[in-house]
């Protein structure tokens, strides 16, 4: 190896003296893969070849300054090795030995942070946002919440650089410089020889593992409690840990990630584990996020393993429908099914939809209500059933609040209604049945009152709870207005006012039949009202009818 490198050194020296040879050298150099291999070997055995390392560094520097592009790019592939060599020497307190490497690194750094005309290089990109249509998506098919997301970053630029040129490396700027160098390496990594990736992985493991071997380190501990004046000689640990920064290691993970999917899966995965361990040890949060992400993507994940195919890509078919039967899939709640799912009528949702054993609790609350004369009984029942739902569906509080807001209008009248009922008729045995359908009844009121009493806001706490419970399976993180616009946007499948009314009619007889005569009159009253309000307020009152509609889904 050493011979090969020596020849390479002398060849270039000769070529430089004679311009005619220079071209030949460049061509020859480009086609010769062995020399890089040899240099890597020399670096890994640098203790034995210190002079040679120095010469190599000088030659690489000459290459870096050479006008020929292939020569200019050649030293970049050694960056990880050079960085390791340098950091190792520094951590061992052997800065003098690493002067050659240090100079080379400084020169490459200064070269890489500058543009060709001497300015400062900046790598910048615009932050993409979903709110702007792109070549890959249209606005109409994405939910509003996604579109609005990150909106404020419209055309925000994210930058790397500008970096100042440096004259020397000290402890303060060291990691920053190494990070920048590694960033440049990553920019070029697909141009380097594949074999250099193997050295990258090895070197990366050494960087993060050095000083962490369990066996070392206890030898010099014998001098505990000894007099400090005598304890002046400190047997140094053979290889101290190398201080590293989170951003440096993040760049390193990117390099490793590239290696992982370009032929060095096994080695790279091991290296990643090493980096992850170091990250956890140092508690670099950002780095742990990245290593966690990559590790997680490696097992049981559609992203695939490095050896699954080229770059870990494979065909990921939609799972066959045989696994999910139609009846099951219908009752499944997905994120998309919020606000859109019309749940079946008259069947208690708990029994059909959610098989979590909450039923006993609910029954208990029902029996409680049968106590005659309890004024709050309907709301108690509703809120308790709401409670069970809350535990099952876990709605977001925001959504509930938004819905509750909307509901402000009709609480009071509903209360009154209840009281009227109570006044007129003594509590009856079929209270249970009645309660079961108060919800429906209240819906009719919702439809009518929302158009009329919208301004009246006072409401009892228990009532608002009721409504929360009712409203919750719908859209969670949408504001009311957003809900509205979404439903409109979704075009042909959205709920029309017509169907709302149809539903109203359809459900009406049930309510009437179960309530006393007096209430049935009010109900019909309200039905006409609901017609009026919906028809009149078509442009404005759309949200109202939608709101009522939403409630109904929740109820059923």
């Amino acid at each position: 190896m050493a011979e090969l490198v020596k020849d390479w050194l002398t060849d270039y020296q000769r070529a430089r003296r004679q311009p005619a040879d220079a071209e030949a050298f460049v061509v020859e150099h480009e086609t010769d893969p062995e020399i890089a291999e040899a240099i890597f070997t020399i670096f890994s055995e640098r203790q034995r070849n210190e002079d040679l390392v120095h010469d190599i560094c000088q030659q690489l520097l000459a290459f870096y300054r050479a006008p020929e592009v292939t020569l200019h790019k050649f030293p970049l592939q050694f960056l990880p090795v050079l960085i390791y060599t340098y950091l190792h020497a520094v951590s061992a307190g052997d800065k003098k030995a690493s002067r050659g490497v240090e100079t080379l690194l400084i020169c490459i750094y200064n070269g890489e942070v500058s543009t060709d005309d001497g300015g400062q290089k900046v790598v910048a990109f615009r932050m993409p946002i979903l709110a702007q249509a792109s070549v890959y998506h249209e606005l109409k098919n994405l939910p509003m919440t996604d579109l609005r997301r990150w909106e404020e970053n419209c055309n925000r630029e994210v930058k790397w650089g500008p970096h100042l040129r440096i004259e020397s490396i000290n402890a303060q700027n060291r990691m920053r410089i190494m990070t920048a160098l590694l960033f440049c390496y990553n920019q070029q990594v697909s141009l380097t020889q594949k074999s250099s990736l193997l050295y990258l992985c090895r070197v990366a493991s050494q960087l993060v593992n050095q000083g962490f071997t369990t066996k070392s380190g206890h030898g010099h501990r014998m001098s505990y409690g000894s007099d400090p004046t005598t304890g002046t000689t400190f047997p140094k640990p053979s290889a101290p840990r190398i201080p590293l920064s989170a951003s440096f290691l993040i760049e390193l993970v990117h390099a490793i990630y590239y290696a992982m999917f370009n032929g060095f899966g096994t080695v790279a995965i091991q290296t990643l584990e090493d980096i992850h361990n170091r990250a956890s040890y140092e508690m670099f949060t950002e780095l742990i996020i990245v290593t966690n992400a990559v590790r997680n993507s490696l097992h049981a994940n559609p992203s695939g393993q490095p050896n699954d195919g080229p770059m870990g890509l494979s065909v990921a078919l939609t799972p066959a429908t045989t696994t999910v039967t139609t009846s099951v899939s219908k009752s499944m709640i997905t994120n998309a099914s919020f606000r859109t799912k019309k749940l079946p009528d008259d069947i208690p949702i708990q029994a059909q939809d959610l098989t979590i054993p909450q039923a006993p609790q609910q029954l208990a609350s029902v029996t409680e209500e049968t106590e005659p004369g309890a004024k709050e009984s309907p709301s108690a029942k509703e809120s308790s059933s709401g409670g069970t739902r809350t535990s099952i569906i876990r709605p977001s509080m925001e959504g509930i609040k938004a819905q509750a807001h909307k509901a402000l209008g009709f609480k009071k009248s509903k209360d009154k209604e209840k009281e009227k009922e109570k006044d007129k008729e003594p509590p009856k045995p079929p209270q249970r049945k009645f309660d079961k359908h108060t919800q429906r009844n209240s819906l009719l009121q919702l439809q009518s009152d929302s158009g009329l009493d919208y301004d009246k806001s006072p409401l009892s706490v228990s009532k608002s709870k009721t409504y929360d419970a009712v409203a919750e399976p719908q859209s969670t993180d949408l504001l009311p207005m957003q809900t509205l616009s979404l439903i409109n946007e979704n075009g042909s499948n959205s709920f029309s006012i017509d169907s709302d009314l149809n539903d109203g009619i359809a459900t009406l007889p049930v309510a009437v039949s179960l309530n006393s005569n007096t209430t049935s009159i009010t109900s019909t009253d309200m039905l006409t009202k609901s017609f009026e309000s919906s028809v009149e307020l078509t442009p404005l009152g759309h949200s109202n009818s939608n709101g009522a509609k939403l409630t109904e889904h929740g109820l059923d």
Binding site: Q172, P243, A336, T340
Partner: protein, 859 residues
């Protein structure tokens, strides 16, 4: 291609055609019987239709192309094959259905695993020579599938071509097939959407697949779902019916084949073309996969320099497609909008793709927790975590933690019990410096991974570093220690326990508490050092513990260990310098600090120590220049940051750190009196809130920390000016500090010092009283107040103040000295002698600045 609507436009045929395009094969068979009876000369067409119907309905029920199913498929498809063969004859040629029959036969062969035969059928059908023209929906699908099948057959063909040239030829033919299949497939799905969209009378044959809203008045009695966006699972049914596994495979296979052939750029271009096609109902999940895969390709295989932005050249992409305007008929429609965002570089494209993929993946996540949905839930969860993982990889590098944060926040809705999501969320909150939130999330993460100490350790660190709830932090550290069974990082947990006890000891005001905490801290730190002999941090804290216990010898030896383990560690060097001053070696200390400043030129704490040392060595002039340098450094470090901060506040509600994080971390380690005096800073916070309500005072923009640092510098400068007998300059400095924040007890104390210098005792007393009122634990102010009381002839009050001070800081010789003086004045000579003796004893081991002035460090 056959033209089936040629002349015979009978009602039945139209019906059959519509049933074919909708895939109602049972109905087709029924109708075909009618057709046969209606016009017997349609025998051939009928055969074809029956064969087709049988084939398709068989394939709908059985998965395609699994090795084990070939035998069964052969049996099940025998009849279909017979019918199709019947349709091939001369009459078939005449009727124009022979081509379709061949294509279907090829599909049949493929399903039976007879790849060679399948290819032969394609040759007979002359698939390669077809001209582009308008096609019916069904024909479009047949053609798309045919190309797909041909590609798949070529890929799986048993015998490999011998020559290199042949292989290349075969490869290119295969790639061409897949590309055409993907174009035609997408076109078919787009056409399907248009047809089904306009055709409102399409019946709801299967429950759950209905699309029509205005179906009936009595909807409420039925139990189907009306959906505006497609709910995932019922969608999959539809998707499979419309697209089918063969097409889906081909669509995904096309770019993969290209990558395999080494044509990375072409593959990327293929992905782009597919994603650029207008989406349809059926392609939702496909688009998710494609967007994710393109992002993966860009992240895994394309580095910055070889990247080419999409759609820059019109002719870009496959060379195999060839020219010809007529070809456009067989291309899917593309997104066209004005002011489209077109990525210009790799980062833009990756992040855009991932944002889209995230939106798609999140939509299909399953919230139902009941067991029968487990599989669906896990599948959706897998899809969405894959996107999150890639998003993490792509964004963290650029400091865009905020973006990640928002994603995870949204994900919580469907991530019940998903430890990965919770942990990532907690970490991202921590990285975004939302400490209190992060703690909450980490608590959940602890529950989800009961065996892992990491979340506990992180929580502990948040408590120590940011929330200043040391007790709580200690609890977490102990929890972490309990979880250490594998022994990967026991030293870290142990160290954190030690730090917690140490901080508690520093904060304790009762002597008994302090002693017991100190003992526990020492034990814990000793154990930490034993666990991990290579950990400089453990050594550093152990040394600090000894220093706090006034055992300077031990402290010095351990700080040397620490420095041997890591030579360039600013806090270690800082402590080392202080320890040297406490051993009466101030010149050496100055040397250490100066060397350290070589490596850390912008470290304000080291500069602070340096200035104090210079002051102590009666070199006030150089101290002055040091402090001036500190001000310059402060400006370099923070002015840009604060300006940036202001900008952020003005145009966005949530800022992101655009500065690369390494640059940030340099600065954040700078704080002269940081977290170690928890009580103090809380008082300051309260006062600053009070101050902001004053009308004359306007809060400086940006975070408080840099401004507090500037106050420190001004006060130090004031100190220096007093030493060189320029009290007016000192007052100016104090004025500057007051501008920033008027109610700091340190400013009050320093103003008192100036009054002392000017011998304005009553004013001085008032200032010190203010300082003590603002912070009753400020020992320097207490001492100064005591001394002032003494001079004003109030020895009893002086005694009280000094005793309080001594209780808080028993290691300060100055307090004992003053106390001695007071006792002397009071005539209590025994106590006085004791005090002076204590002072004498303590004096040699007193550092120039308290050891607690070094901020907490975790790296």
């Amino acid at each position: 291609m056959a033209n089936r609507t040629r002349n015979n436009t009978t009602k039945v045929e139209a019906l059959i055609e519509s049933c074919r395009s909708e895939g109602k094969w049972q109905r087709v068979i029924e109708l075909t019987d009618e057709l046969k009876t209606g016009s017997p000369h349609n025998e051939c067409l009928a055969n074809f239709l029956i064969g087709e119907a049988r084939l398709e309905s068989y394939l709908e029920e059985h998965a395609v192309a699994a090795e084990s199913t070939f035998g069964r498929a052969k049996n099940g498809l025998a009849e279909a094959r017979r019918y199709l063969n019947l349709a091939l004859g001369e009459s078939g040629q005449k009727a124009g259905i022979a081509l379709d029959a061949y294509l279907l036969l090829a599909k049949l062969c493929y399903a039976c695993g007879e790849y060679e035969q399948s290819l032969e059928n394609f040759i007979k059908a002359e698939l390669n020579t077809l001209a582009e023209k308008e096609l019916t929906l069904r024909s479009l699908k047949i053609l798309a599938e045919s190309y797909a099948i041909k590609g798949l057959c070529l890929e799986q063909q048993a015998h490999k071509p011998t020559s290199k040239f042949k292989k290349a030829e075969k490869d290119s033919e295969m790639i061409c097939c897949f590309e055409r299949a993907s174009d035609l497939g997408l076109l078919y799905l787009q056409e399907y959407d248009i047809v089904s969209g306009s055709n409102t009378s399409s019946n709801n044959s299967t429950a759950g697949s209905t699309l029509n809203v205005n179906a009936g008045v009595q909807q409420s009695s039925s139990s189907f779902a009306i959906s505006s966006t497609i709910p995932s699972s019922s969608a999959t049914l539809e998707v499979n019916r419309r697209m089918g596994a063969i097409l889906e495979t081909a669509l995904q296979r096309a770019p993969i084949v290209l990558i395999k052939a080494g044509k990375l750029q072409v593959a990327v271009e293929r992905y782009r073309i597919m994603l650029n096609a207008i989406e349809t109902r059926a392609t939702q999940s496909l688009r998710l996969t494609l967007a994710r895969q393109l992002a993966e390709v860009l992240l895994r295989g394309v580095s910055g320099t070889i990247y080419t932005p999409p759609f820059t050249t019109k002719s870009g992409g496959s060379t195999l497609r060839g020219g010809g305007a007529a070809k456009r008929l067989w291309k899917p429609r593309k997104y066209t909008a004005r002011q489209q965002f077109t990525p210009r570089n790799q980062q833009e494209e990756v992040i855009l793709l991932l944002l889209i993929a995230e939106a798609l993946a999140v939509r299909d996540t399953v919230l139902s927790q009941s067991p029968e949905f487990k599989q669906a839930r896990q599948h959706a969860m897998g899809n969405v975590t894959a996107v999150y993982d890639l998003l993490a990889l792509a964004t963290i590098r650029w400091g865009l933690v905020q973006l990640l944060n928002e994603s995870f926040e949204k994900a919580l809705k469907f991530s019940f019990g998903e430890q990965h999501i919770w942990r990532q969320y907690g970490l991202s909150l921590m990285a975004a410096e939302k400490h209190a939130y992060a703690l909450r999330v980490l608590q959940e993460s602890m529950k989800l991974t009961p065996g892992d100490p990491l979340p506990c350790l992180l929580a502990s660190r948040i408590c120590y570093e940011s929330l200043e709830t040391v007790k709580q932090g200690l609890d977490y550290a102990q929890q972490a220690l309990k979880r250490e069974v594998k022994g990967l990082r026991p030293s870290r947990s142990q160290l954190f326990v030690g730090i917690g006890y140490q901080q508690l000891a520093i904060q304790a005001t009762l002597k008994s508490d302090r002693d017991s905490y100190n003992k526990l801290a020492l034990e814990a730190l000793e154990r930490a050092v034993q666990h991990d002999g290579n950990d400089h941090l453990a050594e550093y804290y152990l040394s600090l513990q000894y220093a706090l216990l006034n055992q300077l010898g031990e402290a010095l030896s351990h700080i040397r260990f620490a420095l041997a383990l890591r030579m360039e560690h600013a806090p270690c060097l800082h402590l080392f310098a202080l320890l040297l001053t406490a051993s009466r070696r101030p010149r050496e200390a100055l040397g250490v600090v100066e060397d350290a400043l070589h490596e850390f030129p912008d470290n304000l704490q080291l500069l602070h120590v340096k200035a104090h040392l210079q002051l102590n060595l009666e070199d006030a002039e150089t101290a002055l220049s040091t402090v001036q340098h500190m001000l310059a450094v402060w400006r370099d470090l923070y002015e840009a940051q604060l300006a940036g901060e202001e900008e952020k506040h003005s145009d966005t509600k949530s800022g992101i750190h655009l500065i690369h994080s390494s640059q940030m971390s340099d600065k954040d380690s700078n704080s002269v009196y940081a977290a170690s005096l928890a009580a103090v800073s809380r008082v300051e916070q309260a006062l600053s809130e009070a101050a902001s309500s004053l009308s004359s005072f306007t809060q400086r923009p940006g975070p408080r920390r840099p401004w507090m640092l500037q106050i420190e510098i001004w006060l130090l400068l004031a100190d220096v000016y007093m030493r060189i007998d320029q009290p007016n300059e000192a007052l100016n400095c104090i004025h500057e500090a007051t501008q920033i924040y008027p109610l700091s007890h340190q400013i009050m104390f320093m103003r008192g010092q100036v009054h002392v210098y000017l011998e304005q005792w009553l004013d001085a007393k008032q200032c010190f009283l203010n300082a003590v009122a603002a912070n009753p634990n400020h020992t320097e102010a207490l001492r100064a107040l005591g001394e002032t009381h003494l001079i004003l002839g109030e020895p009893r009050l002086a005694e009280k103040m000094l005793k309080d001070a001594a209780k808080l800081d028993p290691n300060c010789p100055k307090i004992w000295f003053s106390l001695g003086q007071v006792m002397e004045t009071l005539g209590d000579y025994n106590s006085s002698a004791d005090c002076f003796a204590t002072s004498l004893q303590l004096e040699p081991s007193c550092p120039v600045l308290p050891f607690t002035s070094i901020p907490l460090v975790f790296e």
